[in-house]
Structure formats: structure tokens, C-alpha cells
Chain length 511, copies 2
């Protein structure tokens, strides 16, 4: 009886401790969401002169978030809950594990560094926008250099024994991944991509050029909204806007925002952009709303996040089946531009493989080479083996090596992506990881959903969305990336799914 | 020599103290700006399901802001600076005075109340939007009741000896104003407005009905943007969007956002709405960017804020001179709807005096009666003399008394304004104060800018904007409302300017 009483008493104490933990963790989550609102606003809405005050707002909040995250009382709660983790449910266990990870990282970072990083990121972003518009790399180089130095300082604080500074930064985006594993995966993939590219170039086959419009942005937007709706994007819990660099930001499962940009001459930019960001958005909207606020209620990693965007963009959105339904609509909407295109013409054209300067517009074969290039350059920057000021030149040289293409301007070269301006080093490799995950997950989806192809031909995407939600989205971080992919597909991540998918698809198209 | 050294030493200590104070005050300012970004987003951008998390984000931040504002170390700094205020410049002196005011108020409010107010405001706002859409006052009444109770608790904390709880709430919007002074001003104005209204009704004159469109929203927006540009609104430091309830929010002098709403049948709603919010925006953009972050760098009071919106909307925007330039453009843009209107027809029509249900669409004569009604009702609510659940009925009865008009639905009655849903009791009287200030300030402008009328006829508004900026905007809170109006116009606030303006204008129109 006494024993029973003590157990009950402990349970009560435990549940109070968890409530206390959950309250604190929720506040940290809300602060993160507010930071995301501010960043979304900065990219999609904010007028030009707002930048300087926005930088101060962001850094003020980043410091407050850091203070909450490193509060010793929060640390004590984590210790108490770790000691009694047997009494927690799976969300509780995973949340305490995740909180420990965040707490340990945050306590290693001095407040001044956090402030300076947030402030510099906001200012450097504005400088990047300007430099890109004017294709002026030298104007941006000092900001990049400052950012690299700050990130090196951060990496030195976070670095674990036996690992590189760059690996410490990777952990923000792909928890648990190592440089060695990325090197192994990417060096297996790179020669195969190069071989595929050479095969394509040697085939002599060439798809028809897509028409160059003009395609009214409003019509592009309408069609994009129709496709997003069919994908199951919940407009009551999200919105679509424009920004210079398309992105998805999930403030919570109930408020997920995506952006795109419209070109009147290129129809694919916005359409595939919307499908891509829509895939990200479905992951964010699919997180458990009930668990929201607990540290484990978050996407597992950026690689898995990217798997969702790439799966919808490529495995679904660039398939012949997908366009069986949507091509007639596209043709009607943009008549007469596609009047003399057959479905097969169109599908071949949107799958053209051809070296080109811009990553986000690259085909599925060369895309990986764009990523590997960035991965190598950012490793070198953080290792101090490459100066920011030399980056322009090194970028162009390597583009010629990998793709046989020299960017005409910095805007279509080193300045094309926003990531580095905002200090996101270690982010790029997750794009290629995403492609690998996507191929393996879609392979499983085809086996788990027998009618998948027929559904896709009929624009009935809800079964696929539901399957992804149940198998992946809803679990948040209760599983690691490795555990998830093993549970979902029965085996660890294997680059061959991706390579086989590419060979099958482009082998058929280019014969 | 020793004396000199000590003085220098004290000066250094003093300037360090002020730097420390300024840093803390800036953080509080940034937090307030972030709260404003979140509210702007909630009203202009946020998808429906985002409301619940937004409430948590707002309350989390409101509590943090409250903690910063009540930090004893901040209080100590204020004391030190008060003791040595002789060494501060005018921004410093005013900022310490303002910080003292905020600190004293904040320390009287318990954190739980702050949290509950922020959370309830965000949720009640959503309930108000729904209730207004469905014209369902009973659905909103419990939320209003909850809000009234919370505001009463707040008022009891803030109340000073010898003053009413309502007066304590007033201070948030019109620092230093008393109930007695408002009563005196309003009871002088009310009978005159009633007499003017009766005179108009008895005149037998009736302007032509304005055409009912359809007016495409895009064309309304373009024309509105043109007018705002002419007014000197800085688009690099601001933007225009739509929201159910138009408003202006200045995150900083460098980021000022206004909203409007478009009706395809009523052209005036959006146009005068944009001019009105544009007037507010010029005040925010005109604050000293260099002093930004210091507590005194804020608009003096809502009454003076409203003076700027009403001056542009009415004294400028409803004048014949204004439309000499803009009417031909309007007629061209919306042809054929105004083809058979003369300028005089149009000017008379936009100045039609006629009792109507909606405050923001009311003419200049009845507007004050709308405000006085709200002032009386909210005083009674806070005093506990009126139950929230009875408000619908009392509202309609009083509308009949004052304006001879019974609202057909709650949506055009008690539910038309958002203020009470967000806990803004004490806000409404500043609207009428704004009209009084506007008349007195414009009277001075006409004497200080000899060519004003010619400039307005030519859409050259920059001299007026500059005069307002130099005389009012730039000073922030370095002066009180009373000091400002005396300095600006040579005498204290006097309702006769407003009454004379109305009599002159409507006497001429209605003969």
C-alpha cells in the first residue's frame, strides 16, 4: 500500500515536472514561431527601409530565446525528466531527448555570438538581395566573410571531440549525420550522375523547347493554387505569396506559408516551385497539432523535409501520369502556347537534362552536382581553406568542371542562393539527401498504395498525402531519421534507389 | 582640478547609465514592434486556423515585454537618471519621464493579468470577426463580458486616488486626459452637432446620390496609391494591404503599414479610408528615425494621431480644392459612372450629412455623435453600470435618440468596431478629440502656409506634410499634448475651431 502510494506520489510529481517542462518548451516554441513570422515577413512583405529595425527585432528575440533555452531551471527539469524517463510516453521521451540536444547546444553558445549572428544574418540578407540584383559579388564578399567567421566561432563552440567544425553546423539541419557518411554517399552518387549526364548528351535526343509565353502571373497562380488544393494543402492553415527566393515556413501545423516567384517567360519556375514548396508545407501541416509545442513536434531533419518537396515535385510532378490530368488544363489556360504540344512532347520537355547555372531550376540529373559543388565549397570555407573573396572564381571553375558551364554573371553563379547570407552552412547537402530519401520513400509508396499511379493520373493525391502523413509527418521527432527510414521502407538509406530511379526514367526518355 | 575630474567622471557615469537605459528601452521598443508585426499579420495575412497559436505567441511576448518593463534594474536606472536629469538632453529627459510612466503602470499589473489580457484579446478578436460576419451579438457577448471584467481588473490596478477606473484606461490612449475634461468638451459639442444636424435636415437640400459602380477594386487601389504618393507616403518605408477593419501600424518610422477594404459599390469607403490611414502613416513615418528606440520617440497621443488622419481625410480630402485635381482623374478612371457629375455635384455628394449606422462611414457632423455614444457606453461598462449582454439593446436605443436611426443588424450596430474585442476601452473618445485637434491645427496651417489652398488644388501636398512633420511629428513625446497644441497654435485645445469649421462648411453647402 505504501509502495503504491509512493508510486502515485512520484507520478504526480513527475507529471507536474513534465507540465512545467512542457510550458517552458512551448514558450521556446512560440518564440521560434515569432522569429519565423518575422523572417517570412522580411522576405515576403517588409518594405525596404524596414531592414535595419527588423535586424534589431530579430536579434532581441534570438537573445531572449537563447536565454530561455539556457535557463538553468530548464536544464534542471530536463535532468529530472531524464532520470525518470521510463514514466514518460513516447512524445515525452522524445521531447526530453530533443530538449537535451537543444539545451546542450545553446549553453555552449555565448549570448553575444547569438546576438551578432542574428543581427548579421538580417543585414547580410539585405546586402545579398542588393548584390544579387546588381550581380555584384565584391559588394557582398565582406558580408559573406563576416558571416563565415561568425559561423566558424559558432562551430568551435559546438564542435565535439573528433569531429570537424563543419560537422557541428550540419547537426542543425540533419541531426546525427556525419561528414564521413555524406562523403561516402555523395562520392558514390557523383560519378553516376556525371555518367548519366554524358549518356544523355551523347544520345542526340533533344526535347522540344518549351514556349516562352508570355504567361500571365495571375493565371500561373490560379493553376498553382488548383494543384496545391488537389495535393491537399489546407488553405485555412496556410497561404501562398511571392518572394525573391521561394520558401516554406511553418509557424505551427495551423499556419504554414509558402512563397513562389513568377516569370512571364518561363512557366515551369513557378509551377514546380509551388509543387515543391507545397510538399514541404504538407509535412508542416501534417505534424501532430495535439503535440504542438513539445520539442519533438518538429520535422525530423531537413533531408527528410526535402524528401517531401522533391517527391511531390519530381516523382509525382514530373511524371507522365501527373500531366495526364493537368496538361489539358495547362494547355487551355495558356492557349495558344501549348496548342501544338502533345502530352509526350510536354513530359519530355519538362524533363530536359541540360547543364544550366541555377540550382532551383536544374533537372534531376544535374541537380545533385549543383549540391555537391556547394557542399564542397562550404566545407572549405568553414575549414578556412577558402577565402570568401575567392569564392566567385572557384565557383565558376568548378561549375565548368562539373557541368561544363560558366555562369555569365555572379547573379547566376555564386549569388543565386540566399543560404550563406543568412549563415546557413550545412544546409545544402540536405537537398541531395532529400533526393535520396524521396526516391526510396516513393518506391515504398508505390508498393504500399496499389492504385497510386491511377490516382495520380486522376489528380487524386489525397491517398498519397495520407500515407505520407501517417508514415512520416505525424511522428515528428519521436523517431530519428535512420529509425524512420528503416521503419518506413524496411532498410537504411540507400543511394541506389535514387540512381535506379534516374536511370529508369532518363533511360526511357533519352533511350 | 579635482572638481573638474569629478564632473567628468560623473558625466561618464551618467552617459553610461543613459546608454544602458537606452539599450534596455530599445529592447522594449523592439518587443512592442514585434507584437505589432504579429497583430498586423493576424489582421491582414494570417490564415484562419493560425489564431490559436497566434494567441499563444502574443501572450508569450506580452509577458516577456512586461518582465523587461518591470525589471527592477530598469527601475533603478530610471531613478538614477531622474536624479541627474539636468544632464540629459531633451530626448533624454522626455524618455526618462515616459519610461517612468510606463514602469509605474507596468509594475502595478500582475503578470498573469497581462498574459490573460493578451490571450483573450487575440481570441476575442477572432470571435468578433465571426460574430460580425454572422451578425450574431449573443455569440460575442460572453467574450465581451470576459474582456470587460479583465479590463476592470486592470483599471483597478492602475487607478489613482480620486479618479475613476475608466480614467485609468484612458491614460493608455490619451496620456493626462481626465474624464471631467472629456465630459466638458463633449457636452459642449453634442448639442451643437445635434443643432447642425437638424439644420441640415430642415434645409431641404439634398446632394445627388453617388453612383453605385461597379468600381473594380484594382482601380480603387491604383487611385489610392496615387493619392498616398502625392501625400508623401514613403513606399520604401511602408505598405498597403487589405483587412476587415482598416488600420495603420507603425513598427518603426521605417516600416509603417496601412490597410483598407474595397467595396465594388461604394467608392468612398476605400478612398477616404486610404487617405485617413495615410494621415496616420505620415505621423509614424515622420517620427525622428534617429531617436527611434527611446521611449519618447512615439506619437504623443491617439487624439493627436487621429488629428492627422482626420485632417487629411476631411480638411484636405473632402475639400473642393482637393478634388479640383483628383475629380477629373476619378471620373476618367471610373467612366462612365461620374460622367454627368460636375465637380460641385461631387463635392456636395461626398459631404452629404445623413444619419447612418457605421461610424467609419459617417459624415463629419454625425461622426461626433457616434463617438459620444461609444464613450458613454464604455464608461458605463467599465463602471459596472451596464452589462455586456444588454449592450445590443442599449446601443440601438441610443442610436435612435442621437441619430434617429435603428441599426438593422448587430453587424451594423454594436459589432461594427473591433476595439472592444481587443480590450481597447478608452480609445473611442480620442476619435472626437482628433477632430477637435484637426480643426485647430488646420486653421493654423492655413495661416502658416500662405499658398496652402493653391497647393492642395494642384495636388502638391508636400509643404503641408513638411509643416506637420516639423511642427508635430518629429517631436515625438518631448512635449505633452497640451504643450504641443499651445506651441503649435498659440492656445489650448478649443472645441470652437471644430464647431466653426463645421458651421462654415456645411452652412455653405446646405445654405
Amino acid at each position: 500500500m505504501l509502495y503504491f502510494t509512493r508510486l502515485t506520489y512520484d507520478n504526480v510529481r513527475m507529471s507536474n515536472a513534465y507540465e512545467d517542462f512542457r510550458r517552458r518548451a512551448s514558450e521556446i516554441t512560440h518564440l521560434r514561431s515569432v522569429l519565423q513570422v518575422l523572417s517570412w515577413d522580411q522576405e515576403a512583405m517588409m518594405p525596404e527601409l524596414g531592414a535595419i529595425d527588423r535586424a534589431s527585432q530579430l536579434s532581441t528575440l534570438a537573445v531572449i530565446q537563447h536565454q530561455r533555452l539556457t535557463d538553468p531551471a530548464y536544464g534542471d527539469l530536463i535532468v529530472r525528466l531524464e532520470e525518470a524517463s521510463g514514466e514518460l510516453d513516447r512524445w515525452g521521451k522524445a521531447s526530453v531527448r530533443e530538449a537535451r540536444r537543444q539545451f546542450d547546444k545553446a549553453t555552449r553558445l555565448p549570448e553575444n555570438l547569438v546576438r551578432e549572428l542574428a543581427e548579421t544574418a538580417a543585414l547580410a540578407y539585405e546586402q545579398w538581395v542588393k548584390a544579387r540584383d546588381e550581380s555584384d559579388f565584391p559588394a557582398f564578399a565582406p558580408w559573406l566573410s563576416k558571416m563565415v567567421n561568425l559561423k566558424r566561432s559558432e562551430a568551435e563552440c559546438l564542435q565535439k571531440a573528433g569531429s570537424s567544425p563543419y560537422e557541428a553546423l550540419l547537426d542543425d539541419y540533419e541531426p546525427g549525420i556525419t561528414e564521413a557518411r555524406l562523403d561516402a554517399l555523395f562520392s558514390a552518387v557523383q560519378p553516376e550522375l556525371t555518367a548519366l549526364l554524358e549518356g544523355v548528351m551523347a544520345s542526340g535526343r533533344e526535347p522540344r523547347r518549351l514556349p516562352s509565353g508570355p504567361f500571365p502571373p495571375q493565371a500561373q497562380e490560379s493553376l498553382g493554387r488548383e494543384i496545391l488544393t488537389a495535393m491537399g494543402f489546407d488553405w485555412k492553415a496556410g497561404r501562398l505569396d511571392t518572394s525573391p527566393h521561394p520558401f516554406c515556413s511553418g509557424f505551427s501545423p495551423r499556419d504554414v506559408r509558402i512563397t513562389t516567384r513568377y516569370s512571364t517567360v518561363e512557366i515551369l519556375k513557378s509551377l514546380f516551385g509551388m509543387i515543391h514548396e507545397g510538399g514541404h508545407a504538407l509535412y508542416e501541416q501534417g505534424l501532430s497539432a495535439g503535440a504542438y509545442g513539445q520539442p519533438a513536434c518538429e520535422a525530423i531533419s531537413l533531408g527528410l523535409h526535402e524528401s517531401q518537396s522533391r517527391l511531390w515535385e519530381n516523382q509525382v510532378g514530373r511524371s507522365r501520369s501527373f500531366w495526364e490530368y493537368w496538361f489539358p488544363r495547362l494547355r487551355r489556360t495558356f492557349s495558344p502556347h501549348f496548342d501544338d504540344f502533345t502530352l509526350d512532347d510536354f513530359v519530355f520537355s519538362i524533363n530536359r537534362v541540360s547543364p544550366s547555372p541555377i540550382r532551383v531550376e536544374a533537372d534531376e540529373v544535374t541537380y545533385g552536382l549543383h549540391v555537391i559543388l556547394r557542399y564542397q565549397l562550404e566545407k572549405a570555407l568553414i575549414a578556412g581553406e577558402l577565402e570568401a573573396s575567392e569564392l566567385d572564381q572557384v565557383w565558376n571553375d568548378r561549375m565548368q568542371d562539373y557541368l561544363g558551364y560558366i555562369p555569365a554573371t555572379s547573379a547566376e553563379g555564386v549569388l543565386q542562393d540566399t543560404h550563406w547570407s543568412q549563415g546557413m552552412f550545412g544546409y545544402f547537402p540536405t537537398y541531395l539527401l532529400g533526393n535520396l530519401y524521396a526516391a526510396q520513400i516513393f518506391d515504398q509508396a508505390e508498393r504500399s498504395i496499389p492504385d497510386l499511379d491511377t490516382q495520380i493520373s486522376g489528380a487524386d493525391f489525397i491517398p498519397l498525402r495520407e500515407w505520407l502523413r501517417e508514415e512520416l509527418h505525424i511522428h515528428g521527432r519521436t523517431l530519428t531519421a535512420d529509425e524512420l527510414i528503416e521503419k518506413m521502407t524496411g532498410q537504411p538509406l540507400d543511394a541506389n534507389f535514387f540512381l535506379e530511379y534516374l536511370k529508369g526514367k532518363f533511360g526511357a526518355l533519352y533511350q
